[in-house]
Symmetry: C2
Subunit: 536 residues, 2 copies
Amino acid sequence: MNDLVNHRLRHSWSADGGAASLPDRAVRWLGQRIGPVGVDRGSRVDSRRNVPGSAVPEAARAELAALLGDEYVLLDGSQRLDRASGLSYLDLVRARAGAEEVPVPDAVLLPADPEQVQAVLDVCVRHDVGVVPFGGGTSVVGGVAALRGDKAAVVALDLVRLDELVSVDPVSRIAVLQAGVRGPEAERLLAAHGFTLGHVPQSFERATIGGFAATRSAGQASSGYGRFEDMVAGLRLATPKGEWRLGVAPASAAGPDLRHLAVGSEGTLGVITEVALRVRPLPDQRYYEGWVVDGWQAGAAAVRKLAQDHGLADVTRLSDVDETKVSFALNAGWKTTALRAYLAARGIRNPCLLIVGWEGDVGRRRARTRAMLRCADAHRIGPALGQSWLRGRFSGPRQRDTLLDHGVCVETLETATYWSTVDELHDAVRDALTTSLGRAIVMCHVSHAYETGASLYFTVLASRDDADPAGQWQRAKAAASEVITGLGTISHHHAVGVDHAPYLAAEIGTLGVEVLRAAKAAVDPTGILNPGKLLG
Amino acid sequence: MNDLVNHRLRHSWSADGGAASLPDRAVRWLGQRIGPVGVDRGSRVDSRRNVPGSAVPEAARAELAALLGDEYVLLDGSQRLDRASGLSYLDLVRARAGAEEVPVPDAVLLPADPEQVQAVLDVCVRHDVGVVPFGGGTSVVGGVAALRGDKAAVVALDLVRLDELVSVDPVSRIAVLQAGVRGPEAERLLAAHGFTLGHVPQSFERATIGGFAATRSAGQASSGYGRFEDMVAGLRLATPKGEWRLGVAPASAAGPDLRHLAVGSEGTLGVITEVALRVRPLPDQRYYEGWVVDGWQAGAAAVRKLAQDHGLADVTRLSDVDETKVSFALNAGWKTTALRAYLAARGIRNPCLLIVGWEGDVGRRRARTRAMLRCADAHRIGPALGQSWLRGRFSGPRQRDTLLDHGVCVETLETATYWSTVDELHDAVRDALTTSLGRAIVMCHVSHAYETGASLYFTVLASRDDADPAGQWQRAKAAASEVITGLGTISHHHAVGVDHAPYLAAEIGTLGVEVLRAAKAAVDPTGILNPGKLLG
């Protein structure tokens, strides 16, 4: 039992011992650019004493305990607090402040299997209790906030016990995984059969199969393995109207593809309990390397060429000038002096770092990508930068915790648009963030490229306004979101949650929102599923 | 004006002068296998005299005429009959019999642009008139049948005047085409900008952009260019609740992807007026060739290998033993004697023909496919068979007309499933059709292959039961559909229409059907859009 709950996060990514250090040199470098940092402003208030009592009606609690067993219905304040929110900057700031306004679920439920999930929903419908599906808790958009909507009580439905590889069909290359399986465990289970999923978002270490599906996740190797929705062959959902299974063939013309309604539904249309996924053979090789392009526009043009002429590496990741500068400054592992000489010798004034990596059939594809990059005036630096990126690929959230300890406002946001708008959107978001935050570092990379366009992923570093840290970021985020609306999507892979809900209608139309509301009413007529998410 | 309406079909594919001939040799060959054929049983009753008067209320007609102009509101019986149905075997048989039970639309409306389409819907909502969107009229599942549902009148909304290339974004490689643009015209318009769509279903010559989107079409080169839904970047729809636009980025995590709800909605959720499509550079080369594999299972395994190891040609098409026999028997252009000697020399007893074709960057990819096919014990015959297939790729419907003239019951049906079920489904559908039809030729090919599975496309030839030609096919189709339900999808690229509606709930769940009904109610509360289709 302790195994099931003790992996929890205590509202930071570093609590499980993986804290990142911030060298003095980096602290000084940052201080010169964004203002005062380095003072230890990381003190955290113990919120545990403030957790209110559970509002779950006793009759409901008794039914749930009879169903799941007493030990799988947690009312303890500490356990409930651990599932109260995700891991956005706002979540972290509020948690550190011990803010009493953060809503806390009234119970944590730990069902064992899809049947128990269905039975829990039936109980919650009868007692009109809200249900927040909870996987890895890594949402950065408020997707797991314990909002009540019009319900008197809300529970966190933690799917951690749905941890099985249900089946593997090696001929069709499809594996069925339960929703609570986390990234590394999914890979371990599949590797025993010679397969990989290849889905490695930055949240990989904690995020779950169900969460990947519910949020339309995209991994760092999406250029090779596809977005998560490209992997989904089928889904099993529990809904207040009963179980719902989707997916009978690789492709179909039997009406709209409802798998695309379930994927991205963020727990509002059902609780995803199992996902049938396209898997691939475990790669026997992987190779990563760094290139440099002179200037953002030249870099974007090179990535566009790769995407449109079928030359993308499995990982293709282009940093803009500012992100490249920070990478060079903060990563001591890179031989900065040698690199500077290399760039100078080639007359490169505005280096943009391009990381490319191949898995599996490396040789043939690497030759093609390299030839295309050379044609695009890119310069190969070598494998050291690629390896360095690979080692640090999941470290972002840990670095963020450390930066928070140093009084830095640090957050990311992301979007995507068509190629002809990429430059305009890049500049407009940068401007909006800089205008709002003043002295700040705003950096960006393209990590997902398509024939028709690309994602843009921004990271922001500013000196934290300790008087109003949440307001400081909310204003900057709102400025960026206003700019994004009309030029791109409000989220390429972080989902909608609470934070992006105000911008959804501008993207899919008020009619689109009405259609989603109608779909929700059909499967969840009393609205118990994830109140306040996606549709606001 | 005549240009706009005279391309019509008169309920056959051959009426525009492209009739296929059936050599005596082929007639004899067929007769030996399926029983009496060759007698001229193609007599057609002139249905025109039976067309009932229009039931469109005079007030509605006047409003529509004021909106579109008198000449674009057609009440003439002949024009209405021409949009009364699609081109399934049942449609053709009924049309030939001059069957009075075929419902005929009460008017044909010819709006000029998306704004007029929207205005037409507004009029039809006010007067409670049903609307059947009509593109190329090539549906083989009853998708354009002029069903009234609970409405007193229904109109065919012919989109032929929405014939423009709206815009081309060469950087993002996206073109916006209006819904009424037919396949060849789309290619002509795009070619002027150096682009191609690459979408070539058998209905290519007549089917439209709007129809491709509404039915989730898949073309013969889908292995290279993708299914039609893979090309859709965005859509513009007219609905009773106003215009609806979808698609702001190549990929998004802003909730469910509603483009996948619009694509495949078959006119029930809105009238698609414009589609933004991913385009590709016009190929400067194309190369097609034939291979032979010994036996169906070996052939399917070879195609699976290509699909799973990224070696598919742009066109990859495997015929089973029976389809291969018919191809060899009916196509005099192939050097049958030489082929027999070739097969005998290699000990191939159950030849299965495999057509592969590449467009654009031929050399590199051809080498890879060929190497993989050799490893899979496939034997290359050469380009003649490939070229022969390419020449005849759109001739199926014309041959069908000729076969109908000769008293043959001839129809196709298709499905898709995961690789581990392909053989079982192939055999089960064959058995079901043969059991129902008695002496019949049932042949099958895989024309769309995916990493996880493949389509199966069956063609059936039997001696027609002139006493009950419709019932003869309906019983066979029902038997096949029962088998398909549970093993695969009821349609891989023909859509649902009327014919497949009874099987939809088994595929997407009664909950899936309820969700679609709810979505429809949100955009079309009075149910004027394509009554009786998709949802029955």
